[in-house]
Symmetry: none
Subunit: 220 residues, 4 copies
DNA sequence: TATGAATGAGACTTCATTCAT
DNA sequence: AATGAATGAAGTCTCATTCAT
């Protein structure tokens, strides 16, 4: 009985804590960390300013705690699934990669606010906090992707290349679309493109390159 | 005489103005727009706080004026130069693209502080200011690149693809390295790679893709 | 039965009230009245913050109630005892006074926390509260001492002097040692001396003065 | 010329700094350190709250800086003067001591606010600050007095006694009158006495003690 | 009766901006 | 034109007190 009460209380504390943290993330994303005020966070959370400090030590503590909100993003399932099936045709590979890309775009889109907070607070963050953030960021998937590339190369499906550069370049192609379409508030500068179409083109580029006659200039 | 004096005065005003603006850009880049103080900007510029307000209306005015410092970045010369010579072999194209990439990396590197300012002040900027910033950003080169791609496709050197997506994806590959190597202060998360090597790999990927046997699965 | 229950309840209330009050006195003494927080008092008392307000109206009420903790200090027993026996020799008087002094030091030492509370809250106290405090303070013994002095003078044991000044001066000699040895946290400034030794010297001074040849310069 | 301007400016800074510090001391003395607000200090100083922070780092810095206001109090001149003239009669000695006492009372009276600040902030002060305060306090004269007593004993004017205890006891007699007449706001508890009278009585007590027939009970 | 989460007034402090010199 | 002291609005945070459970 008492235990029940205890756990109920803990649950409430947890709930309130998340409620405030989400409000903070929202306001941080919208106004930027420094321009955000505890007053507005409190309003967004539907509590008084004082209440914030019953759950967090400071405004900075809110910033540091935001990563806790986000479960570590992962593309692992789809990627490891693909690793298991070495493809024999380019078409087959394309289909698989498009699945991965879709998943990546979804993850990014889901975490756009998180990215905005990260960007707005960048100069303030110490290295430790930054890493904590990056760990929850799809950027971090680069390492998973690298492992996948190594396997594909070993399988002879991909040419031998620098996997570090390759993986990061691939993420870069994804990220720039998130940046230009989701993060940068002015959508007027960059035309918005449908993610399905983007996915197809990126995969094409990634697999085949742009050359019309690939046989020529092949690398030794 | 009077005119001379006039112009000399204007010149001085111009000089002082730039001196302050550069200090502001430096401090904004380092601390972030909101965390930066006019006091520190004044110190960096070697003037008093009051003097800033003889040249700029407000702290925000400094932010808005920073783009004036940067001549609109352009890859136009190398790109248009390349356009003029339709290549016949992949090798030849590689050499040309590497030149372009080097130039792009240099431009980005030169503007890292500018990018940092942009990122730190993103949530504060109105759309107009944002565009003003983006115009000075290598990101903006996407449009130039797009034009180049259209020509190459017309020349039959590149396959027909969506040039908007293609150009932006290419910039994304450049940008993610700038981001991970120059902007993000924690260099521990992402291994640092030499730009020459990056350039070569990106061009390889861009031209040929990753597939070991490109003949297969070729797009129709 | 009901009455029994009633009285039991009252007893409990009394107990809880004292428990809180003692905690408050402890914390007030340590941190000073204003720097002390109800939170810490609650923790010290082993109750919740809310409970404090079931027994006391406010933090200030705690301050006002602390004197209730202290029974009015009194040196009356030893002093009246002494009064009864007019001494004939200085040696005899010395012995008696040393007993009084010991008792006074003990009383002071026992009330050091009380004194600290008084000092820390002095500027906040209204005159009434201050008097309530002073009444529980050994300082208040001055009046008792004065009566003793009057009697000794009447007995011809002491010279005729201003008893008000004399009594207070005597208390001052006691108090400065309490102050320098117990209240002032920095024990480095004033060397600590054993109270027995202090007692002997003070009594010597009080009875005989410092002059080596008292016969000379005697007051008329 | 420039130097003149410089020094004028420095002088102004010095002036403003003192102006604020004196206001702070006044408010601290009246309300106690913790209950005092920067708002009231600013009002008392006739400046805005922000201005305080152009001269002091924090409210605590004000507390730490207050001793700077007070030149180190000293009774040295009168005491060393007396030392030079070993007295032969008690009457002579009385006259000299009364001068010293008057000076001491004046010093104390002049520093009453300072003492109040010290008392109010006692629990907050670290040892270093406390010492800084005590150094400006007449309490500190104990050491000077002690030296005087040693000499008088060596001169054979005073009996051999523990000078540490003796000196402090003497200061205690002075201090308790300052405490009861100047520091404790309620003057109702202790009757106020004229300092001249107090001085005479204290000196009497100090030199001759209270015994009517000092020849008896003399110490061996 | 006991609890402790919620409150909000108010404290300290920062900093962009002004203005007399 | 340059200075930098003064300003005061606004921000972060604390804490005595309340009240639903």
């Amino acid at each position: 009985m008492a235990g029940n009460k205890e756990s109920k209380k803990e649950e409430l504390v947890q709930k309130r804590s998340v409620q405030i943290l989400e409000a903070a993330a929202r306001v941080f994303a919208q106004k930027g960390y420094h321009a955000a005020t505890t007053k507005e966070i409190a309003a967004q959370a539907g509590v008084s300013e004082g209440t914030i400090y019953n759950y967090f030590q400071s405004k900075e503590d809110l910033l540091l705690s935001i990563p806790r909100l986000i479960s570590e993003t992962t593309l692992l399932p789809p990627l490891t699934q693909i690793q298991a099936t070495p493809t024999t045709s380019g078409e087959e590979e394309e289909k698989l990669l498009i699945i991965v890309l879709d998943k990546a775009f979804q993850t990014f889109q889901h975490n756009v606010d998180f990215l905005k907070v990260l960007f707005s607070a960048l100069p303030t963050m110490d290295e430790e906090t930054l890493e904590e953030y990056l760990r929850r960021t799809p950027l971090h998937l680069t390492q998973v992707l690298e492992e996948f590339l190594r396997i594909r190369i070993a399988q002879g499906v991909y040419r031998p290349m620098d996997t570090t550069v390759l993986a990061r370049a691939f993420m870069g192609m994804i990220m720039i679309f998130m940046l230009t379409q989701e993060v940068l508030p002015g959508k007027r500068v960059f035309a918005s493109v449908d993610y399905k179409a983007i996915g197809r083109e990126i995969v094409q580029l990634f697999l085949h390159g742009v050359l019309a006659h690939p046989g020529q200039g092949e690398v030794a």
